[in-house]
Amino acid sequence: MRFYEYEAKTLLGKQGIPLPKNGTANTPEEAARLAGEIGGPAVLKSQVLSGGRMKAGGIKFADSPDEARSAAEVILKLEIGGQLPRSVLVEAKANVRKEYYAGVIYDAVAKRPLLIFSDMGGIDIEEVAEQHPDHVARMHFSSLLPLSDYKVKETIASIGVTGGELTGLVPIVTRLARTFLQYDLTLAEINPLAQLDTGRFICLDCHIDMEEEARDRHTALLNELGVKREETRMARPPTPFEIKGAEVDAKDTRGVAGRVVEFDGNLGLIIGAGGGSLTLFDAVRKHGGKAANYCEIGGNPSVTKACELTKLILSKPGVEKIAVMMNVVSNTRVDIMARGVIKGVVESGYDPAEKIAIFRIPGSWEDEGFKILRKYGVEYCDRSVSMNEAARRAVEKVKKG
């Protein structure tokens, strides 16, 4: 779950990391007032989740409250990556001497948190790592034992940083690394971490992602920041269809019928499980099919859940047929899926034999499931037909109409 910049800065501020004087505005007037309070040159930054704000015109400078007002007016109406900003962050413009980079992620190879530090901040760290590897320091640290300052000092010093720069940076970077663990973050990045003309260090921009699965453990922080439970914070906000999909999943605890993602095609997909869905969605695309949705079914959902998901997908305008496909299932039951899907089709007022392009779920309780499918005249196949072939047949049927 991604934080907006103003939320990320609030969190870092709480942790004792220095920030420019700032505030968020929802109207041009508020922006002008904030700029007045700052009392000098200000920078106004669009609060969107996607990157590329500078390029898109979402960051502007203002020397007076009047300039701030007109800049905010433009920014608040500017869509970036398909999203309008939540607000505009008005911040004192810093006089920067030098820019550094500090970031913490998990390294899935070492399976440890990894601190990355560079004395070349302000640009993409991957680029720096490729072109100037001697300016990038890395340190894995323990997620069990407390992080000592000296480890961070060694890391920063390893690329030649010394003097007041070293002693000024160590506490900030150490706090960043501790914050990463304390709040179950999956990314904590300050870039640039700027040294001002005065010699002080300050966080100018930052990116923070919190682990989706750990949100419940940090409700106090999330409430304080005003992050609502239903906010998914994905690359785009959920559509009403996707919200309904999540509701179907939440209503009944048995099994999963989740992660419904909307597309604009004519073939509804009832697919599973995690890996199977990815494989099947690829196969549908490969054969020129146009999916109406993505979803993931697994964990042996109830008849009701499969039924409700089927009804939701069939209610979507433009859906001509549905394909019901999974990898060989171990705990999800073929007969339960067959019942749920057929029931959903019938309750939507359609004939299963006509509406279900193909049913390809082999595995647990398949003989019982196939009996049901035969009774309703639904085309089905067992494991001798590959997932790819099943997807091809489904796409062909929709094309024929």
Binding site: S302, V303, T304, R333, D335, I336, R339, I342, K343, V346, E347, E368, K371, I372, K375, Y376
Partner: protein, 74 residues
Amino acid sequence: MPSMFIRVDADSSVHSNAELAKKLTEICPVDIFAQNPDGTLRIVEDNLDECVLCDLCVEACPPGAIKVVKLYEG
């Protein structure tokens, strides 16, 4: 809405036996059985299609007293 796939036939000796009704209510993993206020057995129509064919109800009753009928067979 009537069930599409499963019907459960319990004969009158099961229906009127409050003790058996209680047992059935407890063992069914998908809540097909409930008890009326007077303790007699009530079959929850809405849950019939959720039946997982575990046969726990059949085993709990005297032989032949309860039948799980698959409406998609025959």
